[in-house]
Symmetry: C2
Subunit: 337 residues, 2 copies
DNA sequence: TTTATTTACTTAACCGATTAAGTAACATAG
DNA sequence: CTATGTTACTTAATCGGTTAAGTAAATAAA
């Protein structure tokens, strides 16, 4: 059986395709009786409209893109949940693109969006994405876009972030209160705004507590797990850290791994705080003190903002900024006071 | 600036749109010189073809759908990774749909696929999806579809699974070897094939080791976390379990939570094995013995199968079945012998 | 030299829905 | 009894590519 089209409905009912189309969209131009007849036949023949015909004509795809570095990370997974909850409610479809921290891949993905494939974009950039990036400024003018978490500070666009600096400040203060005097911060990339904001809050806190801000305090790690572990072993050997702040989930677990391998006891030898949304944080050995980001809410907020812009053309999307606070959840990888 | 279309290129070069289209697709009908001129102008004007115009005409969207219960689960996250790796390589786009274990939602999502929105579907069904489900048999005939992990056994279709029964058998034997005599299995749903296959392997192992297969051995839990915890507390109080097999990741962490709250020591009071891909399993307190599923490979295999069917129309997709083995990884939540 | 074939295009239909513009029939207002 | 609206449609263009069928000119074969 061929696909049921509006034309088939039209022929069966001896009406024009225009009438069918209008009847299906409940236009006031069509009589109630005709609408019912159309609806009934549509249901009977199991008519499903072709979304691409509609997209082509209306220049709207009812689809958004989510561009993220990876999915196997509880922050991004939860963010997708938040995004999807809004998208599903609004009847939008969600395309997922993974950049795997590769900015070249990211560029290719973004370039495709000039085709009109999606009505809007939600993005968290790669660790490689430079602050003044590849045509992102360009794309921002062509299509509604909302950055979340990993934003490009130099690009004028809507941004949903968490209070990175404040959270890092809080984490640092907590370590200091727990007796740490030699604290290190592990960051993903010097290009990443969140890394920089977290480092900023960290250094401010060190200063506020009268601790020296030596160069070794901030370490940029690799996207490669093995390389990162090597690096961690090296700095743990060289520096006498008594506290570590891991600014990503992967780094936090890497610290646990390395500590195990180096026989460093947490928290006795090294106190650890991780920026993480791991649901298992409380069951780790020892349970992990975390800065927990509102991942679901950030995704939801980003999507909500995007849909507001899609509905209301005059909405000044690029001026929107929202900061949703993270929470310090104290557990046993740090020494509470 | 208006969007650049094939027509604009045609006008500038004093050629027909047909020529442009063919030149861009590197048709042999077009001279090398013309191709070069077209390519050059296309690049200059930053021409990006409209995917929906193409989809409409070619009746192919170069898009696949992934329908899963949730993303915030390491199995599904890794499976997406596997799927995406293949899709990206083939230049396909990936739509994600979350059913949140709601079969009504699932039905709605699947119904939409009759529209031609996607060229193929990868699905892991909800816990509610009955064995003879809502038009799934129908859809299978209309569109290439591959089930992975949570399959519908009654539907004739391509399926990628893991060796659920064997893995459960192995897990059970491991517990028996560790001294367990009263083992319980926690499953997500009596409708779910994976639950049933795991229960099957479990019961077989009990029989093989001369342990009674009392009714209380298999417990079906809820999708709601709080409800599940209540249930676990109840059965842990009533039954004298010394071993538990949690057949989903969420159930495994629920067991940890409940044990903590009931002051049950793992593994002294209760040995625990979880079907889980948690990267943090080894850092849990105690580290969790797992049946680790090849999530990435399953996603990859499912996608590979789907693309094979999309490329080769005569490929007998629905006859394809692959079983990829899971591994028992022994850690400290069980007592090794 | 005539016919057949190849090359490099063009024309126009098409995919399936949407919508501006047009129209016939009837109702209401002035 | 016209003029004006309103109702309920239809016609035809359109979105932006793709492709079957056609054609003119050049080349090869007979």
């Amino acid at each position: 059986m061929e696909n049921v089209t509006i034309r088939m409905l039209a022929e069966r009912l001896q009406l024009s395709t225009a009438t069918i189309s209008k009847a299906l969209s409940n236009s006031h131009e069509i009589s109630e009786e005709t609408k019912q007849r159309v609806l009934a036949l549509a249901r009977e023949l199991n008519y499903v409209p072709n979304p691409y015909a509609s997209s082509l004509r209306k220049k709207a795809s009812h689809t958004i893109a989510v561009v993220i570095p990876e999915v196997a990370d509880s922050f991004f997974a939860e963010a997708i949940n938040g995004i999807e909850s809004v998208a599903q409610e609004k009847g939008y479809h969600v395309l997922i693109y993974l950049t795997h921290e590769n900015s070249g891949k990211e560029r290719g993905i973004l370039k495709d969006f000039q085709s009109g494939r999606v009505d809007g974009v939600l993005i968290s950039v790669t660790t490689e994405t430079a602050s003044a990036p590849h045509g992102l400024d360009q794309l921002v003018k062509e299509i509604p876009i909302v950055f979340f978490d990993r934003v490009c500070e130099d690009v004028i666009a809507a941004k949903i972030t968490t209070d990175d600096a404040a959270a890092a400040y809080k984490a640092t203060s907590h370590l200091v209160a727990g007796g740490c005097r030699q604290i290190g911060l592990l960051a993903a990339s010097p290009h990443l705004s969140i890394s920089n904001r977290r480092a900023e809050g960290f250094l401010q806190a060190l200063a506020a507590h009268g601790l020296p801000q030596n160069k070794a305090a901030v370490t940029y790690c690799s996207n490669d797990h093995a390389t990162t572990k090597q690096l961690l072993k090296k700095i743990f050997r060289e520096q006498q850290y008594d506290g570590i702040i891991a600014t990503t989930e992967k780094l936090a677990t890497a610290v646990y791994e390395v500590c195990e391998e180096m026989n460093l006891r947490i928290p006795q030898d090294l106190q650890v705080i991780g920026f993480s949304n791991l649901s298992t944080a409380r069951f780790l050995n020892p349970s992990l003190t975390t800065i927990s980001q509102p991942a679901f809410d950030m995704g939801k907020a980003a999507a909500t903002l995007l849909f507001k812009a899609l509905k209301n053309n005059s909405f000044a999307l690029s001026e929107q900024q929202q900061v949703i606070p993270s929470a310090l959840i104290v557990r046993k990888s740090t020494i509470a006071t």
